[in-house]
C-alpha cells in the first residue's frame, strides 16, 4: 500500500511551483493572530484578482502555552494568476513569528525559499521552549533557505509608540506589522485592511489607529529596508490577475457555503428550516452562521447534546419544517440511533458531518475523510441513507442544496460530508444567480387518499406522503417500530419486515435515477488510469492529474459527489480504465466501497496525517502506477 511521504524532496519541490503562483505560510504562536493575518491577506489577495486557496492549521487548545511547539498556529495561502485548487504543497515564503513556529514549519519550506523571522522573539527562553540548542538564525542550520531576520517586535513597538499602549497591547500589533510587510511584498492594497480595522475597533479608535500604524510601518519597512550584511533584499512579487469568468465574486469558507446552501435549499423547498446543533469542532461554525439568519425562516436550537440536536430536528421535520443537524464524527456517532428513527419514519432530514481526524476525540482541528463508512454503513439494522460529499468550499453550497432536495423529494435523511479543511478553507466564489436555482417545492398531504388515509403509501419514487400534525382528518401514529406496508401500523410479521426492508433499500437506491451521471472532471472515459476521489482531495488530485497529463501521461480524474447511491454509470465508467487509483485521507474507505459495488481493482493511496494531500504525493503515485 502506498502512503504519502512527509518530507519534500528537492526534486519534488522543483516541480511543485507553478511559476504563476506563490505559496505563503504565516506561522506564529496561537496568541499571535496568525489566522487573522492570513484571513486579511486572503481578502486583499482576492480583491487583487488572484485565484487562491487557503489552509488554516491551528492547535486544538484555545490558549496553548506561549512559545511552545504545540501552540503554533499557521495559515497557508496559495495564490496566483492560474487555476488554483489547493493551498499549495511547499511554501515559497515562511513568516515565522517565533522559534517554535520556525521549527514546526521550516521543513515544509521549498529549498531556496524565503524565511522571514522575528529575531526579537529568538530569546534564550523561547529557543528552549522550541527545543533549539542554539539559535537557528545564527548556527547555519537554515542554510538551504534564504533568511531575513529582523526584530519585528521592536519595530512594532516603535511604530505604535505614539499611541501610548502597554507593552502587551503594543506587541499585539505585530501581526499587522507583518501583514503590512507581506502586502508590500505582493503589491497588495492596504485599504480594505484599514477599513476592516476601523470597523473592528470602532469602540476603541486608538487601537484601530495603532494597528493601522503598525500595518503602515511594516509596509514602509519593505520599501526602505536595507538588510544589513545579509546580501538579501526583500523580493517583491507581481502576480497577474487570474483569468476568471465574468461576474460578482467573494471569498467563501465551506462553513458559510453550507449554511447558505441550506438556507437556499429550504427556500427552494419552500419550507422554514429548523437547525438543531451542539457545539463541536469543526462543525460549530455552521451553527454560528445560521444563528444570524433568522429572517430566512431559520430557527436554530443549541441542544443539550448531539442526540437532542438531531432528535429536535426530526421533531421539527415531523411538524413540517426542514430539519437539519450538523456535527463532526464523534457527534455523528451519537446521532446514529436517531438517524435510524428518521429512516424508519421516513422523514426528511439533512445531517452534515464536518469530518475530523478520528477515532474518538482524535484530531479535533485536523482534517480527515475517515467517516465514509460511518456515513454509508454506520447504523444498526439495514438502514440505508443517501450520502453526498462536497469537494471544496464553493462546491459545498451546491451540495447542501442537493441534500435538501433529496431529503424532501424522497422523504429520507441525507448525510452531507464536508471536512475540517473545507470548513475552514476559503476560496473565491462566483456568486450564483439565485433565480437560476431550480425550485423543488414540497407538497404536504392535506386530505386522505382515495379509500382512506395511508401514511406509508408510495409514489413512483417510493416516497411516502409528508403529513403535518395540525392537518384535520389525517391523524396517524408513526414510530421506530417496524411499520406495516401502506398503513404504517405496527407490524412485526416476517413478510412485512422483508417487504419494508426491501422498500427502504429500493427507495434509496432509486435516488440514482434522479442524479446526474458521473462525469470525468479531467481526461476522458477509458484509458490507462483513472484517479478517483471524493471530498476535499479534489484540489490536489486535480493538479496532480493536470501535471501528469501535461507530461503526456494517460490519466483521468473522476470525482464522486454522490457517494450513496452512486451514479448509475459509475461501474461501467470505472471498468473502462486499466487501473484505478483512489487517494483518500483515510485507510481506504471509498476504495473498499468501489471494490464491493463494482468488483473493480481499485488501488488505495492513503494519508492520515491530519494534513491534506500534497500534489506531489499524488503525482508520484500516478507516476508509479504508469511505470
Amino acid at each position: 500500500m502506498a502512503s504519502a511521504a512527509e518530507i519534500i524532496t528537492p526534486k519534488e519541490a522543483e516541480g511543485a511551483l507553478a511559476p504563476e503562483s506563490v505559496v505563503v505560510r504565516f506561522a506564529g504562536d496561537s496568541g499571535d493572530g496568525m489566522q487573522l493575518t492570513g484571513g486579511q491577506f486572503t481578502l486583499s489577495t482576492a480583491l487583487a484578482g488572484n485565484d487562491l486557496a487557503t489552509f488554516p492549521d491551528f492547535p486544538a487548545e484555545i490558549r496553548a502555552p506561549q512559545g511552545t511547539l504545540f501552540g503554533v498556529s499557521a495559515f497557508q495561502i496559495n495564490f496566483g494568476s492560474s487555476d488554483i485548487t489547493t493551498a499549495g504543497d511547499a511554501p515559497d515564503v515562511l513568516v515565522a513569528m517565533n522559534p517554535a513556529a520556525l521549527k514546526t514549519n521550516v521543513k515544509d519550506l521549498k529549498p531556496g525559499g524565503l524565511i522571514i523571522a522575528d529575531s526579537g522573539e529568538f530569546t534564550k527562553r523561547n529557543l528552549e521552549k522550541a527545543k533549539y540548542e542554539a539559535s537557528p538564525l545564527e548556527d547555519g542550520s537554515l542554510s538551504p533557505w534564504r533568511v531575513l531576520a529582523f526584530d519585528i517586535s521592536q519595530l512594532t513597538m516603535d511604530s505604535v509608540k505614539p499611541f501610548g499602549l502597554g507593552n502587551k497591547e503594543a506587541l499585539r500589533c505585530k501581526n499587522m506589522w507583518t501583514l503590512g510587510l507581506a502586502l508590500w511584498m505582493f503589491d497588495r492594497s492596504r485599504e480594505p485592511i484599514v477599513a476592516w480595522l476601523r470597523a473592528k475597533f470602532a469602540k476603541a479608535p486608538e487601537l484601530a489607529e495603532a494597528n493601522i500604524a503598525a500595518l503602515n510601518a511594516g509596509h514602509a519597512y519593505g520599501e526602505t529596508a536595507e538588510i544589513g550584511g545579509s546580501g538579501i533584499t526583500l523580493p517583491q512579487y507581481h502576480l497577474d490577475r487570474a483569468a476568471q469568468p465574468q461576474g460578482l465574486y467573494r471569498t467563501i469558507t465551506g462553513a458559510d457555503a453550507i449554511a447558505y446552501g441550506l438556507v437556499a435549499g429550504a427556500q427552494l423547498a419552500e419550507l422554514p428550516m429548523f437547525y438543531g446543533g451542539y457545539p463541536i469542532t469543526p462543525a460549530s461554525s455552521v451553527l454560528h452562521a445560521l444563528s444570524k439568519l433568522k429572517e430566512f425562516g431559520v430557527t436554530t436550537f443549541q441542544a443539550e447534546d448531539e442526540i437532542a440536536a438531531i432528535a429536535s430536528a426530526i421533531g421539527a421535520s415531523y411538524a413540517g419544517q426542514l430539519g437539519v443537524t450538523c456535527s463532526s464524527g464523534p457527534g455523528i456517532a451519537l446521532k446514529g440511533e436517531a438517524m435510524g428513527l428518521a429512516i424508519m419514519t421516513e422523514l426528511p432530514l439533512v445531517v452534515v458531518n464536518v469530518q475530523r481526524g478520528g477515532p474518538s476525540t482524535g484530531l479535533p482541528t485536523k482534517t480527515e475523510q475517515s467517516d465514509l463508512y460511518q456515513a454509508v454503513y454506520g447504523r444498526n439494522g439495514d438502514a440505508p441513507l443517501p450520502v453526498i460529499a462536497a469537494r471544496s468550499p464553493a462546491d459545498a453550497f451546491e451540495c447542501a442544496i442537493e441534500a435538501c432536495r433529496i431529503a424532501t423529494q424522497y422523504m429520507t435523511p441525507v448525510m452531507l460530508l464536508s471536512d475540517g479543511y473545507i470548513a475552514n478553507a476559503a476560496e473565491p466564489w462566483k456568486v450564483p444567480d439565485v433565480d437560476a436555482l431550480e425550485p423543488f417545492p414540497v407538497r404536504f398531504l392535506d386530505a386522505a387518499q382515495e379509500g382512506g388515509l395511508l401514511p406509508y403509501a408510495r409514489d413512483t419514487n417510493l416516497k411516502r406522503p409528508w403529513i403535518k400534525p395540525g392537518t384535520p382528518g389525517l391523524m396517524h401514529r408513526i414510530g421506530g417500530i417496524e411499520k406495516q406496508v401502506n398503513t404504517g401500523h405496527l407490524d412485526y410479521s416476517p413478510a412485512n419486515h422483508q417487504a419494508m426492508t426491501d422498500l427502504r433499500r429500493d427507495k434509496v437506491l432509486g435516488i440514482a435515477n434522479g442524479i446526474p451521471d458521473q462525469d470525468v472532471s479531467q481526461g476522458q472515459a477509458g484509458g490507462k488510469l483513472a484517479v478517483v476521489g471524493w471530498g476535499s482531495t479534489f484540489g490536489p488530485i486535480h493538479q496532480a492529474v493536470r501535471r501528469a497529463r501535461a507530461k503526456g501521461q494517460d490519466v483521468s480524474h473522476i470525482h464522486i459527489r454522490h457517494i450513496w447511491p452512486m451514479p448509475k454509470n459509475l461501474g461501467e465508467l470505472l471498468k473502462s480504465y486499466d487501473r484505478i487509483l483512489v487517494p483518500e485521507m483515510n485507510t481506504g474507505q471509498l476504495k473498499t466501497v468501489l471494490r464491493d459495488q463494482f468488483l473493480v481493482d481499485a488501488e488505495p493511496l492513503n494519508k492520515t496525517s491530519g494534513q491534506p494531500f500534497r500534489i506531489a504525493e499524488i503525482e508520484a503515485a500516478i507516476e508509479e502506477l504508469l511505470k
Binding site: 480583491l47 471569498t251 400534525p469 401514529r477 408513526i478 421506530g480
Partner: protein
C-alpha cells in the same frame, strides 16, 4: 388550514384508535389511558392539534391508542423530539409520555433540559419503579434492596424522586397522581391549563414485575391516612375521624421543616396547618420529598407558578431579529468583501453591503 365550524363536543370514545391495546391485562396503563381519554374532551382538545410524543418502554406505546397525531420515538429522547415539534409549530398541544427508566435513566438529560427551558407541554411520567418491557430489571426509581433479574441480591443504589428531580431542574408545574385515582383527570386538566412545562408523576402499578409496590399509599384501605390531596387555598389535611384521626401538615419554624400535627375538632387553624399555595416553591421542595415517616404521599398539584415558555421566547426572538430585514438570498450571498471580474478582467471592489468578512 381548513376553516371548520366548531364541532360537537367530543367524547372519550372519539379519542380511541382502532389499534388493539397491547398492555398486560390489569396493567395500570389502562387506567391512565382512560383518564387521558376522559380528560381530552373536557379540556376542549382537538385531535388534529394534539400530538403525543413518547420514548421507549411500556408507557411509550401510549400514542398508538390515542386518536390524535402520535410519535413513538426512541429511548429517552421524547422531550428532545417534542422540543423540535413545538418549536416548529407552537400551535400544537404536545404531550410527552414517558416512564421512570425512559425519563430518568437513559433520558435524564433531556428531561432536565425540557423542564428548565420550560417548553409548553405536558410531561406524564408513568412511574412503576421497574423496567417492564425488558422484563423486570430494577429502575432508577426502584427502592433500595429491590430484587430483580439484574439485582438478584437487591439493588444498592438510592432511588431518584421524579417530582424532586423535576422541581430541582426548574419545573414550574409539578403534580402527582396514580393510575386508578379518580382525581387523575383533574390533575391532568391542571397540567394542561398550565402554560409551560407541566410535569406529572403518575404512580402506575406494574402487575407483572412490581405488583402493588405503591400499596403503602395507593391501596383503598387506609388511603385517607396515607394520601394528602393538595388543593390551592385549602389546608393540608389528611386522615379522618373514622381512621386514625384528622391530621395536618404544619411548618416546624424552629427546624425549618414540615411537621405532622393532630387536628382536634376540625380546628386546623389552631393546629397551625398550612394552607396550600401552589406558587410557594419552598414548600413545594418539602412536599416532593414526601412520603416518609408519619408523612403521607403528597398528591395533586404540588407546585404551579407559570413563567414565560421556551417556544414563546424563541418565536419572539426570531421575530425581533427578523424585523425590518428581507429574506433576500441573492443579497446574502453577495455580502462580505466582493469584487467584480469584468470583460477585460478589470476588477473593481464593489464595496457592497456588509463587512462581515470572517475567516
Amino acid at each position: 388550514m381548513n376553516d371548520m365550524t366548531p364541532p360537537q363536543k367530543m367524547t372519550p370514545k372519539d379519542w380511541e384508535t382502532d389499534q388493539e391495546v397491547r398492555w398486560c391485562p390489569g396493567c395500570g396503563d389502562y387506567a391512565i389511558l382512560k383518564a387521558v381519554q376522559r380528560t381530552l374532551p373536557e379540556i376542549g382538545a382537538r385531535p388534529e392539534n394534539t400530538v403525543f410524543v413518547s420514548g421507549i418502554g411500556c408507557s411509550s406505546r401510549f400514542p398508538y391508542y390515542v386518536e390524535s397525531y402520535g410519535f413513538h420515538t426512541i429511548h429517552g429522547r421524547a422531550p428532545a423530539i417534542a422540543t423540535g415539534v413545538k418549536l416548529a409549530n407552537p400551535e400544537l398541544d404536545v404531550w410527552i409520555i414517558t416512564g421512570d427508566g425512559d425519563a430518568l435513566s437513559i433520558g435524564g438529560n433531556h428531561t432536565m433540559h425540557v423542564l428548565r427551558r420550560n417548553l409548553n407541554c405536558q410531561i406524564l411520567l408513568f412511574n412503576n419503579e421497574i423496567y417492564g418491557l425488558t422484563k423486570g430489571q430494577y429502575s432508577p426509581t426502584s427502592r433500595e434492596g429491590t430484587r430483580s433479574p439484574s439485582t438478584p441480591y437487591g439493588s444498592v443504589d438510592h432511588p431518584a424522586k421524579p417530582a424532586a428531580f423535576a422541581l430541582g431542574a426548574g419545573a414550574r408545574f409539578v403534580a402527582r397522581g396514580f393510575d386508578v385515582s379518580k382525581n387523575l383527570p383533574e390533575v391532568l386538566t391542571a397540567a394542561y391549563n398550565h402554560k409551560g412545562a407541566a410535569f406529572v408523576e403518575i404512580f402506575q402499578n406494574c402487575i407483572v414485575y412490581n405488583k402493588d409496590v405503591f400499596n403503602d399509599f395507593a391501596a383503598p384501605k387506609g388511603a385517607e391516612d396515607r394520601q394528602l390531596w393538595l388543593k390551592h387555598g385549602e389546608p393540608m389535611l389528611f386522615g379522618s375521624d373514622k381512621t386514625g384521626g384528622v391530621k395536618g401538615i404544619t411548618l416546624d419554624r424552629e427546624n425549618l421543616c414540615l411537621k405532622v400535627v393532630d387536628v382536634v375538632d376540625g380546628d386546623w387553624q389552631a393546629a397551625g396547618v398550612i394552607v396550600h399555595d401552589v406558587r410557594n416553591r419552598s414548600v413545594a421542595h418539602m412536599l416532593v420529598e414526601m412520603p416518609f415517616g408519619p408523612f403521607p404521599m403528597a398528591l395533586g398539584v404540588l407546585y404551579d407558578d407559570p413563567a414565560p415558555s421556551f417556544e414563546e421566547g424563541v418565536v419572539a426572538q426570531n421575530r425581533k431579529a427578523s424585523e425590518g430585514k428581507k429574506a433576500d438570498l441573492q443579497k446574502l450571498l453577495s455580502t462580505g468583501q466582493t469584487w467584480v471580474v469584468g470583460p477585460q478582467t478589470e476588477a473593481a471592489d464593489t464595496g457592497s453591503a456588509g463587512s462581515g468578512h470572517e475567516l
